[in-house]
């Protein structure tokens, strides 16, 4: 359980970092918090020849809150900062309630928001959150920059995104949620701190006693995070009752197509989808 030999770079500027990625292309990997990459290297499942550590690249660790309509989270913001940060309103609540499910405390001290999205574990909490809120991901390379919506960023294969080998994820823009928006997050894992078997992230806009719009993203049921569109549709314009929630949860369980693994069969995951969607919606509507 020792990594294969690699070259290590710690660039001091964004340009330098992008230059190194450009130079080494497929051979290089970005090192952020190292909480996914380093274990993979120790198992020799990943064997990058070159590591580009972004720890010293300025600016990547900021959370921009000046825009009234959105918040931009720098790629190197640590999990723990999002769990404990002061982003106001329901968006901040959603970050806090979701963040506490990411691994264990020491992992949250080092692991980064951008690293989690770039790594794209199918059961990652942040990926589901980004998907639920239709986050916009800013990517940079020596040849320029582009902004990709969460729907296009995550591929339907596990651990796969649209990032090119020489591209760096620099920040993520998320819409602020209105004050009337309720948020919810429910997860089932075998032990505290384990990756989810199934998780659900929800944001529900109320219109009096009924639901104006609901966003539901699921983790652990496909190669990447997925939106439960039928469940969302089952909620839009409907009264905020237990019956509506039950219908939406059943629709979510119906529309997913999970595969089984050692922690549970496809049927089991469907059962969990129903339970987690119910719980996350109950929270959002409470």
């Amino acid at each position: 359980m020792k990594p294969a030999a690699f070259e290590y770079h710690a660039p001091r500027t964004l340009e330098e970092a992008l230059g190194l990625l450009h130079e080494h292309q497929d051979e290089a990997k970005v090192l952020a918090g190292g909480q996914s990459l380093v274990p993979a290297m120790n198992f020799r499942l990943a064997r990058p020849a070159v590591l580009v550590d972004i720890a010293h690249v300025p600016g990547l660790d900021r959370i921009e809150t000046n825009d009234p309509a959105s918040v931009t989270v720098g790629a190197r913001v640590r999990h723990l900062d999002l769990e404990h940060n002061t982003i106001a309103g329901p968006l901040g609540s959603l970050f806090a309630m979701t963040g506490r499910w990411v691994g264990h405390y020491p992992i949250r001290v080092r692991g980064t928001f951008g690293g989690s999205l770039a790594h794209a574990d199918p059961a990652a909490e942040w990926c589901a959150l980004a998907s639920a809120l239709d986050a916009e991901l800013h990517c940079r390379s020596t040849s320029g920059s582009r902004t990709v919506g969460a729907r296009d960023f995550f591929e339907q294969m596990a651990f796969t995104t649209c990032l090119e080998p020489d591209e760096l994820l620099v920040g993520v823009r998320l819409p602020r949620l209105s004050d009337s928006c309720g948020v919810g997050m429910a997860e089932f894992a075998r032990r505290w701190g384990d990756f989810a078997i199934v998780l659900a992230v929800t944001a529900v806009e109320r219109d009096g006693d009924s639901i104006a719009r609901a966003r539901i993203a699921l983790g652990g049921v496909a190669g990447g995070p997925v939106r439960a569109s039928n469940a969302e549709a089952a909620l839009a314009g409907r009264p905020a009752t237990a019956g509506t929630v039950a219908e939406a949860a059943a629709a979510a369980a119906e529309e997913v197509d999970p595969t089984g693994d050692i922690h549970g069969s496809a049927d089991y995951r469907r059962d969990l989808v129903r339970a987690m969607v119910t719980r996350a919606l109950d929270q959002a509507l409470a």
Partner: protein, 782 residues
């Protein structure tokens, strides 16, 4: 004031909590020029080795490199046993995933791993057999082709026992309860994986193996036998050992290869096992299935018990206790503390293309206790009896009792601990709460588990298994130094249990010194007497007993010198508070003064006493049963199948507790492993034999977040089966907990008619049972 019975803080801990404990890897780091080994392992469960190719000139060692080396083979001398030989490195066939094929040596572990990747082993994979029942099919592949298997394909032990009147008992029964109990595969998972450092001294020709191990003397003998060298050429040292639980009891092929390599290369070589290797190919545990039938009368009396036990022992035998330990212990001890006269059992060991099995804390008893306790609860439900009542009706309460297999059970507190658990739980109050919760759609349950654990057994018990290598006794050498301090050299090999503290307490009482004045020396074949090590809940009973006997001898000698010096009778001398005094007077002499005389003025000793103060004693008892009642309270989430442990209560009887805090620590750790067994840990392989739980991401020991406070109450039944009064307590926690948890889940889900007989009861398994129950009761999926 006595030291025995006090919860003295452990002398071992300050070094450990400050990071000053030295484990094998630390010792390896401190040696200059240590080389590091990595093993090239079989990627497949079964196949023929065609060739092994290494980069030219690379230090790659294979079976061919060690022509004189023997196979490892431990035997039971019984007709229903087939001996299995284990090569140190596989040369013609591979029989389980991860089997070591070659060893590479480099300057660092990382480089050794680089090199290991470059070794190409060409294996022609053959069809494996992974499941024990499937392996007995005549058409299944034979794991050890060419070996005579008179008892059936891959059957390497087929032991049977039956009393005369079993059939009659079943005919007479009002209710026959049949169960299919399954305990899946586990890994004992010591926090420090295995590891060893072999240092060959070219000057003296001796090799020192520093190893994470529980049986240093046995390991040395085994190394000498297998390598065909004299024991004088070998020294085995066990430094701090980070947990063992049986996984470090048996002789690993890797350690043998390491010693052979160090001698061949004249080098110092470390092999520090990593977690992947440990999960894949150290030693596995459990993997038992029981088909059980119990005959009961209407009032719940157990009239007869019929069992068919199958143990999947993997590809090879362990050494020295053999694979027989699992099925034979299961067979001998299954009836447990329940009065039973009619018993029939068949117990088999079956070899498969899985990693070999070694004993793991509790060995067969967590599973046999699960079987009996599930039987009691299921019978109670069928007969509409209370689970506590059916146990009270059947538990032994008169001693000595003899199990149907002839095993004697010394006095214990089976009924008393059950009653105490009922009280500690406030069972009536719980039942009310359970009903209220049920009205809200919540599923709460309580489960009991009563068991006896045979502990501290010496040579006679092991001899009953007909072992060629029969463990059992322990020896303690005691020396009082000129300053009056005491050195105790022991053959037992503690590795985290706190035995040094407990022995110091016991010796302090016998000798009139302070525990701090006792240095316990262990884990070094050069400096300790031959002994069997630390396993099987034996050390306090057997090494403690030997320490007591030795201390009595030393005390007699001290009294004799004091009497001579004080012109009194030895019978009137008392040893207390560091002095030898004439009883009822203030006349005395300090122990340091006596010690000085014995060592430095030996001409003043009474004739014909020899100089010095050193004695030795050996203890080899027949065994004593400790006992306990465990009770778990759980809540089951019907939507996810998740089981939350709300309370865990243990009423434990370990006889005389030399240090109650240490006893409690043993119970806490054991119960945690029992909870792991019941709910979390399972080694899963796919149909091709690939291990799917190959890291701690998927093999899941519970953490402090999953394990509730463990509430321990102590009961002490003193019997003369142990000369110190102490009974063994090392394994009990792990033995009782699984049954309590599975009984609690079954109690919680009893409104749905669910009985849980498979462990671990993972959320997906529990949810599956609920889904099936709901679809049969409501006629459709929920």
């Amino acid at each position: 004031m006595r030291w025995t019975g006090r919860s003295l803080r452990r002398f071992e801990d300050p070094a450990l909590v400050r990071g000053l404990g030295r484990f094998v890897a630390d010792v390896a780091d401190q040696h200059r020029g240590t080389l590091h080994a990595a093993f090239v392992r079989s990627p497949v469960p079964a196949g023929e080795i065609r060739s092994i190719e290494a980069p030219p000139g690379a230090p790659v060692l294979t079976a061919e490199s060690f022509p004189g080396i023997r196979t490892m083979c431990a035997r039971l001398d019984r007709p229903d046993f087939v001996a299995l030989e284990t090569p140190v490195l596989a040369s013609d066939a591979v029989r389980h995933p991860g089997e070591p094929v070659a060893l590479v040596v480099a300057g660092s572990r990382a480089e050794a791993e680089d090199l290991a990747e470059q070794v190409v082993v060409d294996i022609e994979a053959t069809r494996p057999v992974l499941d024990a029942t499937a392996a007995t099919d005549p058409d299944a592949p034979t794991v050890h082709a060419g070996l005579d298997m008179p008892m059936g394909n891959n059957v390497v032990l087929d032991a049977r026992f039956a009393t005369e009147g079993l059939e009659a008992a079943f005919e007479e029964a009002d209710e026959i309860v049949a169960l299919d109990i399954r305990a899946h595969r586990q890994n004992a998972l010591p926090i420090e994986a295995r590891g060893a450092l072999a240092a060959h001294d070219r000057g003296t020709g001796r090799t020192t193996l520093t190893a994470a191990n529980q049986m240093p003397h046995m390991l040395r003998t085994a190394l000498a036998d297998i390598l065909d060298i004299g024991e004088a050429e070998l020294r085995v040292v066990t430094p701090e050992v980070g947990g063992a639980f049986g996984q470090k009891m048996c002789v690993p092929r890797e350690y043998v290869a390491l010693v052979a390599a160090a001698r061949l290369l004249g080098a110092t070589i470390a092999w520090i096992e990593d977690r992947s290797e440990n999960l894949l190919a150290s030693w596995h545990s459990r993997d038992h299935s029981y088909l059980l039938r119990g005959a009961f009368n209407r009032s719940g009396m157990l009239l007869g018990l019929d069992a068919d036990i199958v143990c999947n022992i993997g590809a090879y035998s362990n050494y020295p206790v053999t694979f027989g330990v699992e099925p034979l212990m299961a067979m001998a001890e299954l009836p447990g503390p329940y009065r039973l006269s009619q018993y029939r059992v068949r117990s088999r060991a079956v070899t498969t293309n899985m990693c070999p099995i070694a004993p793991y804390r509790g060995v067969s008893r967590p599973v046999l206790t699960l079987a009996m306790e599930r039987l009691m609860d299921t019978a109670a439900r069928r007969l509409d009896l209370d689970p506590v009542e059916i146990r009270r009706a059947n538990l032994v309460s008169e001693f000595p009792y003899s199990m149907p297999t002839g095993l004697p059970v010394d006095p214990g507190s089976y009924v008393e601990t059950l009653d105490a658990a009922v009280e500690a739980l406030d069972l009536e109050g719980f039942r009310r709460r359970q009903q209220q919760a049920a009205a809200e759609g919540r599923y709460l349950g309580v489960g009991f588990s009563v068991f006896g654990e045979r502990t501290g057994y010496g040579t006679p018990a092991f001899a009953a298994r007909a072992m060629e290598i029969t463990p059992g006794y322990e020896t303690v050498q005691l020396e009082m130094n000129p300053s009056g301090d005491v050195t105790a050299r022991i053959g037992a090999s503690p590795h985290g249990q706190g035995l040094a503290t407990a022995l110091s307490q016991l010796l302090a009482d016998e000798l009139g010194v302070e525990p701090r004045q006792v240095a316990v020396v262990h884990g070094d074949t050069d400096t300790t007497p031959y002994g069997w090590g630390t396993f099987a809940s034996r050390s306090m009973v057997i090494a403690g007993g030997a320490a007591k006997l030795a201390a009595e001898r030393l005390a007699a000698q001290l009294r004799e010198i004091a009497a001579h010096h004080l012109e009194a009778s030895p019978d009137d001398i008392r040893l207390e508070d560091g002095s030898a005094v004439v009883a009822g007077t203030s006349v005395g002499v300090t122990l340091p003064e006596i010690a000085r005389i014995a060592h430095h003025s030996s001409h003043l000793l009474p004739a014909p006493m020899e100089p010095g103060l050193s004695v030795s004693a050996t203890y080899d008892p027949g065994g004593t049963f400790s006992n306990a009642c465990h009770a778990a309270v759980v809540e089951v989430d019907p939507d996810t199948g998740h089981v939350r442990l709300e309370r865990f209560v243990v009423i434990a009887d370990a006889g005389l507790e030399v240090n109650p805090m240490i006893v409690e620590g043993q119970i806490h750790g054991g119960v945690t492993q029992g909870i792991a067994n019941a709910l979390y840990e399972e080694l899963v392989t796919d149909d091709d034999g690939n291990l799917l739980t190959a890291s701690l991401m998927d093999f899941l020991p519970p953490t402090v977040c999953e394990v509730p406070l463990i509430e321990v109450t102590h009961v002490q039944t003193i019997t003369d089966a142990s000369i110190t009064g102490a009974k063994g307590v090392g394994e009990g926690g792990a033995i009782g907990a699984p049954a309590a948890v599975l009984n609690a889940i079954s109690d919680a889900l009893s409104p749905l008619g669910i009985e849980v007989d498979e462990m671990p009861a993972t959320p997906s398994r529990v949810r599956e049972l609920i889904r099936r129950a709901q679809s049969t009761t409501t006629g459709g999926p929920t």
